[in-house]
Structures are given as structure tokens and as C-alpha cells.
């Protein structure tokens, strides 16, 4: 057991400050345990989000010493022994209270995505899909919607990108739909225009923070960008479109 120092953001979107707390830390404790201890003993009204305490629900996203992380999967013994641990809310979203952010923008992005659309014929019987054909889709579907990648992406962080780009999480979701063997919808035009795939300049910061180790940039975003290029920027396709009009091309 060792007493450690913490600074936790207290306040809302307009005003707030870092408040000092001390807390005893014992073997195996994670940052979320510390938050709960402080909440129970010293600050009953300290707001935080959590559910599973095992890295499965993606509720407890915060910034710990400036790095976006899951509080429940960050062990105290990973952090430097003597440093003060600073816990702040996600920077890219408005603060609701203390270390809780308003992540509703993410739900709005999801709503805009054309849902899974199998053909009627296919749903009349069992789907037959080989494991190797769904491996990649399953890899994307490991996402726990913690929004750490969304928080990290500079396009979203810079705010004006928010109305142009759905962000890495939703690029991943779009990729999982586009690569689903039974899906029949066409989202490539949306990927480009509505969801703004062009805004991403492949810095890979999102991939670095993903707790599920999803290869967001390489496996999801780049293949989507390639599909967009094939469709819209391929010189032969461009010519085709000039000659026959846009409509024909998008329905093929």
C-alpha cells in the first residue's frame, strides 16, 4: 500500500480546475479503482462512467497523463512511481461533468450509416459464409466503441473536421459492412461524401490508441479509400462517367 497523488478535472465545459487528491494504492489496482475510492471516501459527487471494469464496454475512456486510455485497463504500476497522475476528460468532445464527456456526436455519425442490407433471398435460409471470409469483418467488430480513436484523430480534435468526417470508428464500421459477404448495399459514394474518407491523411494515431488493437488505418481506412479511388478517380472510370453519365456508373 502506498499513498499516491492525483489531479482530477472537476467542473463542466465552461469552467473547471484540476483538484488534488491523495489515495492509497495497493497491488493490482487500476486507475478506475482509484477513481472509485476517491468517489466513495472524498468526493461522492465525482462523475465518471464505467460498466464492465474489464475492457469490454468502452465506457471509461479518459485521458491519463494526457494519453487517451481506458481507466479500467490502466494499471497503477504501469505509471511512474512518483509522478502525480492527472486524469482529465476526452479532449475532442464537450465535457458533461468532471471526467465525463458528451459523446453524442458519435451516435449521430452512426445513425447516418446505411445499415446492413442482405438480399431478401439470402435471408430466407441460413447464411453460408466461410470463416476466412469473415475473419476481417470480425476483427472490425471487436470495436467496443470507446471512442479513444475518435478522440485522438486530429481531424476531429480540430473541431471544424467534425462536420466533414465520421472518424476512424465509423470508417471501421463502414469497412465491416462493405466487407460483409452477405451485404448488398453500396456505401462507396457515402464513404467519400457523407462520411468524408478524404479527410483522413493516414497518420495512424487512431490505430495506436485502439485498446482492441484493430488495424483501423491499414485494414479499414486504406481499403475504403482505395474503393473510393477506384470508383471516382480512376481515369478510365472518369471517362466512362463523362461519356455515360454518373447514374449508370454508380448502379453497376
Amino acid at each position: 500500500m502506498k499513498e499516491r497523488d492525483f489531479k482530477i478535472y472537476r467542473g463542466d465545459d465552461e469552467r473547471g480546475e484540476l483538484v488534488n487528491y491523495k489515495c492509497n494504492v495497493s497491488e493490482g489496482m487500476v486507475v478506475l479503482d482509484v477513481i472509485h475510492r476517491i468517489q466513495a471516501d472524498q468526493a461522492n459527487d465525482l462523475a465518471c462512467r464505467w460498466n464492465c471494469k474489464a475492457g469490454k464496454c468502452g465506457s471509461c475512456s479518459v485521458e491519463i497523463n494526457g494519453k487517451p486510455r481506458l481507466a479500467c485497463m490502466t494499471r497503477m504500476n504501469e505509471l511512474d512511481d512518483n509522478e502525480t497522475v492527472v486524469i482529465t476528460p476526452l479532449k475532442s468532445f464537450p465535457v458533461m461533468k468532471d471526467i465525463v464527456s458528451d459523446v453524442s456526436w458519435n451516435y449521430e455519425q452512426n445513425q447516418k450509416i446505411k445499415p446492413f442490407s442482405p438480399s431478401k433471398k439470402d435471408t430466407e435460409k441460413d447464411f453460408v459464409m466461410m470463416q476466412k471470409d469473415v475473419d476481417r469483418v470480425q476483427h472490425f467488430r471487436k470495436c467496443i466503441e470507446c471512442y479513444l480513436c475518435q478522440n485522438m484523430c486530429h481531424v476531429i480534435r480540430d473541431n471544424e473536421g467534425k462536420d466533414k468526417f465520421a472518424g476512424p470508428r465509423y470508417m471501421t464500421r463502414l469497412a465491416s459492412l462493405e466487407m460483409h459477404p452477405m451485404d448488398n448495399a453500396d456505401r462507396i459514394e457515402d464513404v467519400k461524401d457523407l462520411h468524408g474518407s478524404g479527410m483522413c491523411n493516414i497518420t495512424r494515431c487512431c490505430t495506436e490508441v485502439c485498446p482492441e488493437e484493430i488495424q483501423i488505418t491499414d485494414d479499414a481506412i486504406i481499403p475504403l479509400k482505395e474503393r473510393v479511388v477506384d470508383r471516382f478517380y480512376d481515369p478510365i472510370m472518369m471517362l466512362f462517367r463523362k461519356l455515360f453519365g454518373k447514374k449508370k456508373e454508380t448502379t453497376n
Binding site: 468517489q39 459527487d45 469490454k56 465506457s59
Partner: protein
């Protein structure tokens, strides 16, 4: 309208926000989402969905191992009849017969529907939904996605559900039910967690899909949401709670380090071949095979090993006995001084499967132990012990409509009781959520259609509910809600835990009485905005009601059956098979706990449940040939 300090004495609710629905679902786990989706398919029905967390974060997200359905993709001998028989035997025949039948018959169709909505299950070699072995299931029956099946389920339902025109209210806590003069459901008072603002949902029907109350115990796999709100609110409104003495302790929770004690280790580890050993290195489960299961369980390590390799003539290893049996066995080993270093048992998959297989089939277990316990499960054995996991009991419903004894109040999922009897089989919850979520949505919509208008609520009731919530903030000083909760958890752990006796339960009840008094003076400091202390205090009432119902039912049931183990009545007693225990609010406001005679099962169901496995397999084979 935000109610601030001091405003409540002359409470004026004329400005309060009100929304109208035909079907309002409380809870957005697998059950709630299924219910909302099926209700929304009905023309002209306004559907709302309310949840305490953000959408997609409900408990269901944590489920690991899979959902049980007799698809027969891996072993084509499977059939609803055998699933039904397994479920009844697992529940020690105390299950609601009709519910168990509806569940087993409909689970396959609901799982397929989930696939059609976009769920991507692991595949068999033929490209169908793969199924894995689990405790108490005769055949590989659990459709799964590695060890993150719950995530797949909730995300699929969520992404499908948001396009069905459902009005979703997130981070909103329901406080209490409203009824009209004739006793019909008319609405529910709720509170937005962010602002502390109150809202009245006026509705023809309510579907409670609020989950369980596992937060009543100290060592638990459950999250903060599991405070029995559905039980508490339904009870206060006059609904009956059934089978509350049956609380499932999952045999394998993490035991070390202390801060993660209770976090679940999926039964999938044993389904994939994991074995249990004590400190002497002995595979002890062979010593704990109940007579009833003896002829379906391997009795040597050699036979168990053949089973793992897929030999259909070999019987299942004893690690896959039902959860109540395995949890008690671990408990006994630890008590006898043969526990692991930190007081559990060793669960070893490292010597049974290759590192590659383990990482592919159990990735989140690998990750969880690596980070939280700094242990590599492909090389070392895990330490595990029992953890509170699931409420078999819950709100009593009609099997065919999911409606409670209150007109317009429905319940499904873990919030409802009856389907699982004295012990739930692993994987039967997720399928239960789909089957009864769907059913309750359909039935609630039907009921709502019959009502011309929303029944009228009484403003005085609304005021009373709001006042009792705000008084927690407005009190000058009072008791710390977190500390009362901690006391309650300790009390349930020690007095109403896995092994129970009369004196301890009675002591437990007495302490709950004291805590109820302390609760009357509970105080949350701070304002109404996103104030966890206040939320904790609001949940405390429901935790206390749930715990009291558990303890009183446990005291009354003088036998050991399934998950309910009485040291002073160590065996099943035939006469008790005829009764369920019911809790309801008495006319004087106190809790009444009574034995109620069970109705006679349909003969055909009785025949199926009690046939020998050989006979039933023959019968199924003939059925399948037809």
C-alpha cells in the same frame, strides 16, 4: 425544468417535461433492445427505450461464452426437445415449464434472425454458425463469437434498432411506476442523469428489461447498473417477485489481484477443454459428480480427454457439470485447505490447448489476464473462485405474454423470473433475451392497441416520487450511500452467500432492517448534475428490496436445490418441488414472503423432461427422419 434545492415543498410540476408512448421499454440490454425492435414492427405503435448507461454499454455487452440454441450445426442430433430437457434438469425441474418450452423452441429462429441483422458468428467448416460446448448442454450448442458474444449481440441489436423509429433516451434513470385509478400502468417518472432533470413518460405499457441485482454481493461479476431497479420498482407497484432465493454464483471469477476479484472468467474456458485442479495438483471435479449426472459424465481423465478430441462415444468431462455443482466443489476444496495461493482453484487451459488456439478462441480472456493479473494463460493456470453472477428469480410473468400481475406491465430478460428455475445453464440467458424480448414486445404492442388512450396518472404520485428523490439531496446531513451499500454487500456475502444456514440468514435479514432505517436518512452531497452519490442513493432502495426478497425467500426454502444451498437442509426435498416462493408488498407496507403451489405441467413436457437421454435421442432421430 431543473428542480433545485428547496423547491420541493411547494412542488409545482406543471412545467415538467412529458413524453407519450404506446410501448416504453426500460433497459437497453439484449432483452430491452429485442423488445423495442419487435414492438416497433407493429404499425402505429410509438416505442420508447430508456436506459441508465449509454446505448450499447448495458450488461449484455459483457457476455462472453455464447447463446444456446438447438441449431444442430455441429451435432445434428440436437433438437429443441433435448435443449428443453437439459434446461429443466439444469434448473432442477423448478423452471416454469411453459417458458422453458417456448425458449427452447424459439431460440434457433431468433439466433438466425440476429445473423440476418448483421451478427457475424464464428463459422463451422461448412460455413454455418459454429456452436461450442458448455456446462449442462448435451451437445455443442452455443453460437458464439470468440469470447465476446455479448458485444456482437448488443451491437447488432443497437445498429438494427436505431433504424426502427424508436425514441431512445440514454443515461436516464427510471424511478417509479405510475398507475391509473383502476391499477393499470399509466407511466413512469424518470430522471436524466446529466442534468438531474425529471421527466414523466406517459405510456400504455411498460416493458421492464432492467437486468438483475448482482451488486448486492461483494464478489460479483456485475456492474454498477445491476441494482435491481426493475425488481424494486415493480415490487413497489404491486408486482410479484418469484424464485428470488436462486442466485447463481458462477464458479470461475478472478480471485487475484484484489481489485479485480469477481470479474468473470468465461465458462468457455472449460468448454474449450480447461480443467480444474487443487493445490495438490489433483483434478478434483471427478469427486463431485452428482448421481443424477453420473451416467452422462466421464469418470476418468482418459475418457474426458477422448471427449475433448471429439470422440462422440465419450462422455463429457466433469468440469462441464452445471454451475451450482462446480461452484460448490471449488468452495469445498478451498475450505478443506486445498485452495490455490489466493484462495481459489486452478483453471488450466495452457496444458490442454495450443497457445494459438487459446488466443483465437479466448482472446479477451487472454487479454484480461495479461493486463489485469499480469499472467499469460497460454503458459500458466488461472486462479478462479465463485462470483455472484445472475438472478434466476425476478418479476413474475405469464409465460405466454410476459405480462405481470399489473395490467400493462411486462418483464423480460434477467429482470423476469421463472424460466431458469433453480439454476441457469450457461448460454441460456442470451437466448432468453432474444426469445422473451421479442415475445414481450409483440404482446405489449397488442395490449397497447386495445387501449384507446393512455391511462391517466395522478399528479400527486408524480410529486411524491420526485420529492422522495430530491429529499436525498436536500437533507442537511445524513448517511453516506456508498457506505451503506458496502455494508449491504458484506452482509449478503457472509450471511446470504453460496452456502446458507438459518441463523446466518436471519442475522442477514435483521441487518437489512437496520440498513433500511439508515437509508431513510441517506444524504448525497452536491447538486443534481451527474451526481453518482445521488444515483447510488436512488439505487439503494432497490438493492435493499432485492436483498430482502432474496434473504426472506432463502430462509423459507428449507432444502438445497440448484443454486440455493442450505447447510442445515443439505439435500433436495421432494415436497419443495411443488412450490415457488413469491414476495410481494403487503397491505401494511411490509414484505410478504409466501409459498405458492406450482401448476401442473403439460404431460408431454413432463414426459420429455423425464425421459432417459437414450430414449429421447431415439425419438429425436425418428422426428428428424420424418
Amino acid at each position: 425544468m431543473i428542480l433545485t434545492l428547496g423547491e420541493f415543498s411547494m412542488l409545482d410540476i406543471s412545467g415538467i417535461k412529458r413524453l407519450q408512448f404506446d410501448v416504453l421499454v426500460i433497459g437497453a440490454g439484449g432483452a430491452g433492445l429485442s423488445a423495442a425492435i419487435s414492438a416497433s414492427q407493429e404499425e402505429g405503435i410509438r416505442v420508447g427505450l430508456v436506459c441508465k448507461s449509454l446505448l450499447g454499454k448495458a450488461h449484455t455487452v459483457m457476455a462472453e461464452g455464447g447463446m444456446a440454441a438447438a441449431l444442430g450445426n455441429v451435432d445434428d442430433r440436437d433438437d429443441w426437445k433435448i435443449h428443453f430437457r437439459d434446461t429443466m434438469r439444469g434448473g432442477k425441474m423448478l423452471n416454469n415449464w411453459k417458458m422453458a418450452e417456448i425458449h427452447a423452441r424459439n431460440a434457433p429462429e431468433r439466433v438466425r434472425e440476429l445473423e440476418h441483422w448483421g451478427a457475424v458468428f464464428d463459422r463451422t467448416r461448412d460455413g454455418l454458425i459454429n456452436q461450442r460446448n458448455f456446462g449442462g448442454h448435451r451437445y455443442p450448442r452455443l453460437a458464439h463469437v470468440g469470447d465476446r458474444t455479448g458485444l456482437e449481440m448488443i451491437r447488432t441489436l443497437q445498429d438494427h434498432g436505431i433504424h426502427q423509429g424508436i425514441d431512445i433516451q440514454m443515461e436516464c434513470t427510471a424511478l417509479d411506476i405510475l398507475k391509473d385509478k383502476s391499477g393499470k400502468v399509466s407511466g413512469i417518472v424518470s430522471m436524466y442523469r446529466e442534468t438531474g432533470e425529471f421527466i414523466v413518460f406517459e405510456t400504455k405499457t411498460l416493458i421492464f428489461a432492467t437486468g438483475g441485482a448482482g451488486k448486492s454481493w461483494e464478489v460479483t461479476s456485475n456492474s454498477w447498473e445491476y441494482t435491481g431497479d426493475g425488481y424494486g420498482m415493480a415490487y413497489e407497484a404491486g408486482a410479484e417477485l418469484i424464485d428470488m432465493e436462486f442466485n447463481q454464483f458462477h464458479p470461475t471469477g478472478m480471485v487475484w489481484p484484489p481489485s479485480v476479484k469477481g470479474i468473470l472468467v468465461t465458462e468457455g474456458v472449460r468448454g474449450e477443454g480447461g480443467i480444474l485442479k487443487n493445490s495438490e495438483g489433483k483434478r478434483f471435479m471427478f469427486d463431485y459428480i452428482p448421481e443424477k449426472f453420473a451416467n452422462e459424465t466421464a469418470d476418468t481423465e482418459e475418457e474426458a480427454a477422448r471427449w475433448l478430441k471429439g470422440d462422440k462415444s465419450a462422455r463429457r468431462p466433469p468440469e462441464l457439470l452445471t454451475r451450482d455443482v462446480v461452484a460448490r466443489a471449488i468452495n469445498t476444496e478451498v475450505k478443506a485447505g486445498r485452495g490455490s495461493v489466493h484462495g481459489g482453484a486452478y483453471l488450466d487451459i495452457a496444458t490442454q490447448r495450443s497457445a494459438e488456439d487459446i488466443k483465437r478462441k479466448l482472446p479477451s480472456m487472454y487479454h484480461q489476464f495479461k493486463i489485469l493479473a499480469e499472467l499469460d494463460i497460454t503458459k500458466e493456470a488461472m486462479e478462479v473462485g465463485p462470483t455472484c453472477h445472475y438472478f434466476m428469480g425476478g418479476i413474475k410473468v405469464d409465460a405466454e405474454t410476459s405480462m405481470t400481475n399489473i395490467d400493462g406491465l411486462f418483464a423480460c430478460g434477467e429482470a423476469a423470473g421463472g424460466m431458469h428455475g433453480a439454476n441457469r445453464l450457461g448460454g441460456n440467458s442470451l437466448s432468453d433475451l432474444l426469445v422473451f424480448g421479442n415475445l414481450s414486445g409483440v404482446e405489449a404492442a397488442k395490449y397497447a392497441k386495445k387501449l384507446k388512450s393512455i391511462p391517466k396518472s395522478d399528479d400527486e404520485d408524480i410529486k411524491r416520487i420526485i420529492k422522495s428523490a430530491t429529499s436525498i439531496l436536500n437533507r442537511e446531513k445524513g448517511n453516506n450511500p456508498y457506505l451503506i451499500h458496502e455494508d449491504l454487500q458484506k452482509n449478503m456475502q457472509y450471511n446470504v452467500g453460496i452456502i446458507r444456514t438459518k441463523d446466518e440468514i436471519a442475522d442477514g435479514i435483521e441487518r437489512i432492517e437496520k440498513m433500511k432505517e439508515e437509508f431513510k436518512e441517506v444524504k448525497a452531497p452536491g447538486t443534481s448534475q451527474f451526481n453518482p452519490g445521488w444515483h447510488e442513493a436512488l439505487a439503494l432502495r432497490n438493492l435493499l428490496i432485492s436483498s430482502e426478497a432474496v434473504a426472506k425467500s432463502a430462509l423459507l426454502r428449507e432444502e438445497s436445490r440448484g443454486a440455493h444451498t442450505r447447510e442445515d437442509f443439505p439435500t433436495e426435498r421432494k415436497e419443495w418441488l411443488e412450490y415457488n416462493i413469491i414476495n410481494k408488498k403487503g397491505t401494511g407496507g411490509e414484505m410478504e414472503t409466501v409459498k405458492v403451489k406450482r401448476s401442473e405441467p403439460d404431460n408431454e413436457l413432463k414426459r420429455i423432461a423425464s425421459s432417459s437421454i437414450e430414449d429421447l435421442e431415439k425419438e429425436v432421430k425418428l422426428d428428424h427422419q420424418k
